[in-house]
């Protein structure tokens, strides 16, 4: 087991997921909401949809993705808890 390599992989996965987290919630939902509102998703303005629906769906998905991929990394490095 190489704990430095394990930790680095964890930080990398986390960094990617948190970057997506930030771009979708603070980016699409707040900072760029006005330009995105020029586009539409059905009856929604797109920016508004991200802010009040889309970001929340993404949050849920991200945690499950993290839990799944992280468990694989745990196993790869022989540090899984099962």
């Amino acid at each position: 087991m190489n704990s430095t390599a394990y930790w680095r992989e964890n930080l990398r996965l986390m960094g990617i997921l948190l970057a997506i987290w930030f771009v979708v919630s603070f980016g699409c939902g707040i900072l760029f909401v006005e330009p995105l509102n020029q586009l539409r998703l059905g009856g929604f303005k797109l920016g508004f949809w991200f802010a009040q629906q889309g970001a929340i769906y993404l949050f849920v998905a991200e945690i499950f993705v993290y839990a799944f991929l992280m468990h694989r990394i745990d196993r790869k490095h022989g540090v899984a808890d099962d």
Binding site: L31, N37, F44, K45, A55, V60, V79
Partner: protein, 593 residues
Amino acid sequence: MTVQTLTYLFVGASFALYIGIAIWSRASSTNDFYVAGGGVHPIANGMATAADWMSAASFISMAGIIAFMGYDGTVYLMGWTGGYVLLAMLLAPYLRKFGEFTVPDFIGSRYYGNGARAVAVLCLILISFTYVAGQMRGVGIVFSNFLGVEITTGVIIGMAVVFVYAVLGGMKGITYTQVAQYCVMIFAYLVPAIFISLLITDNPVPQLGLGDTVNDGSGQSVLDKLDNTLLGLGFAAYTEGAKDTIDVFAITLALMIGTAGLPHVIVRFFTVPKVSDARISAGWALLFIAVLYTTAPAVGAFARLNFIDTVHDQPYARTASWFRRWEDVGLIAWVDKNADGRVQYGPGAPYEGKAQYTGERTADGARALTNTPTANRNEVYVDRDIMVLANPEIARLPDWVIALVAAGALAAALSTAAGLLLVISTSVSHDLLKKTLARPLTDRQELLYARLSAATAIVIAGYLGINPPGFVAEVVAFAFGLAAASLFPAILMGIFDRNMNREGAIAGMLAGLVFTAAYISWFKFIDPASSNPQHWWLGISPEGIGSVGALLNFAVAYAVARLAAPPPASVAQLVEQIRIPAGVEKPHDTHHA
């Protein structure tokens, strides 16, 4: 059966269920009492976390707040969900691996000493008491609105129920009652939401209905119609906010990191068996929360549209029965400024100050007011909570749905109150008595003290609920701001920076705490008249200042840490150990420090 009989029946049955579960799952050791024996299934823990998290404010007030704030309501929707991503990736798995009972346990061990532990206990108690007072008040309000009892009586009944299952069952009892409370709460939220979605769009899924076409033949989507209607009445468009972007950003961030730093949420992840369970459990928790949080904006938009359609320009005598029923309770008021006997709705307050009733009725039959009318055209005062409370009536649903909403609102308030009371009692008996004051306690003695402090905390919370300090609504900003500015950074640095030392962490927590508390107090209590974007620092409101407080915490911690000695080798070892999932144990009591 009348609505009131049905409500008594539903509320009574749900209370019996909670107490039954508590007796079945009562705690027999401190391990049971603090962390439910560490054996809760991740899905059950997810449900319990969702119930713990969603308070009376989420259930009753949030949809109404969004209905009136439109796009700006986003701060609550994203702010109160996005924090779970941080929790799942940055805190929960590592704290679970750490394997003790409380958040101050972690801070005390990681920052080697009682100084850090005491500061953490102080933050925890400040955060949790401000939060719990609002919950008990919520219980009282639900009782008075639905069951026609005094708020005081309502609070006392609520205290008695929480007393039974929190004191008897501890974390174990609370966990399984919260699972039941989640089911009651979500069912009670979804039934009226589905019906009101059908009523307005013919779409049974509220999340999709919000983007669907209104079924009035106009061919407009719900949000377009709402925008047009509101613009026509002189309001801002629903889908465009009034707050500055920087403030929306700051509030959302403060609520997110505040959520991740709330002790009663964090401690829920101490109850699952493994590190990987803590990660996945955060996913389940957020999934269960998202069911309500994605429904709320739909309920808000439908209710606002429906409210305007049924109220605006209607003769008072022909308004729906709910309009007059809620007028009687004081959540709606009407002044006929232009004396045309019709209700005109628009922006601005209809009259100055809080409603003062003469006790008589006007010629139209409305409750007469003595307040000075304002110059604008708006004639209606609406309490925001009405959007959820009156929803079943607005959608003309059967009486049992109204009773269900009452039971759901109580489930939301009680589950959150119980979770908060538990972390308060744990931190008093475990962190303060046993660890900080180093009293030698056997497990049975400690359990007794835990129960006594839970009982005391309930009485204090009840007192605050009956005699609210007059700023219950405002103190929510406090709880999140303080959690964001004090606990979250300290825990995060404790896990991700093995060189962070005691001096840095304590200085950071205190700086974040004092700065945030001072900023909020200034604008909320000392000089509320100046609380507007011109006077706020960088245009950041007191609700959002916790994010600045958190940055300050990090900055001070790193500055001070450079001046003091690095942490001892045992701490570096502890950090290494919590970063690895393997070798996780049942939560237990050890003395690292």
